[in-house]
């Protein structure tokens, strides 16, 4: 029987990362900081997948799913950062509040 201390710590990390990521998405007004919040959220999801794989005895399936999530998350970050760069060039700001009221 595996000790529960490591899964418990991993569960605490998952919940903490998800909470911090959600908080970041809610409070930030900067477009790049939104991507940072999303990254934190996805790290929590990655750990959750691996923890689920460990608890169910299917570590390799959890790793495979985590790999897919890493690829998807990286692509999302790259596209979002390229979008942020273009928005900054076009409108001169990264503030979400200002962007939502701008007309070009």
């Amino acid at each position: 029987m595996m000790s529960l201390s490591l899964p418990l710590m991993a569960a605490v990390a998952v919940l903490g990362l998800l909470g911090i990521g959600l908080l970041g998405l809610l409070v930030t007004r900067n477009l790049i900081k939104v991507v940072v919040g999303l990254q934190v959220l996805v790290k929590g999801a990655l750990l959750a997948l691996l923890l689920a794989g460990r608890l169910s005895g299917q570590v390799q399936t959890g790793q495979t799913l985590a790999l897919t999530v890493i690829v998807a998350d990286t692509i999302v970050s790259v596209v979002a950062l390229a979008l942020a760069v273009q928005v900054r060039r076009q409108f001169g700001t990264l503030d979400l509040q200002a962007l939502s009221t701008l007309r070009r």
Binding site: M1, L4, S5, L6, M9, A10, A13, V14, L15, G16, L17, G19, I20, G21, L22, L23, G24, L26, V27, T28, R29, N30, I32, K33, V35, V36, Q39, V40, K43, L47, L50, G53, R54, L55, G57, Q58, V59, Q60, T61, Q63, T64, L65, A66, L67, T68, I70, V71, A72, T74, S77, V78, V79, L81, A82, A84, V85, R88, R89, Q90, L96
Partner: protein, 162 residues
Amino acid sequence: MFDLLIVAAMLGCAFQAVRGTRLLIAALWLAGASALTAIMMFRLGAPEVAVIELSVGAGLVTVLFVFAINIAGEEPPVTLRSLVPAPLAWIVALCAVGLGAAMALPNLRVESSLLQADKFATVLWEHRSLDVLLQVVLIIGGVLAVLGLLAEGRANARKESQ
């Protein structure tokens, strides 16, 4: 004890990344959180994904953040009022964490003492080949999207200069 230190440092780095006012420093805190996440993954028995997270999450994504912040230019570190009031955001986040803890922590037990016998490569290439196909499609789509975005920016700049 070691796990507790790792988790505390990881959450501290993530919190600093989210709450910091300077973008470049936030990106570096995020890299620290990624590295500590990779250690936690290794401790959970997933060394392959831990290495990928360390190289992609802490390496490539950090370089991309620094590159994007460098091109976009960092905005002055002013503290703007958030769109959602901060107390409300804290309440929502704490409620979400509390609900997650109430649902997950009581059921946190090892269902099976048997470990999967297959190797990572076997599971990835034979059992989850659709995932590999999806990854290839995602990478090609992402590259095309970035190229399109950058080409659009260049076209606009050329139009304005004429």
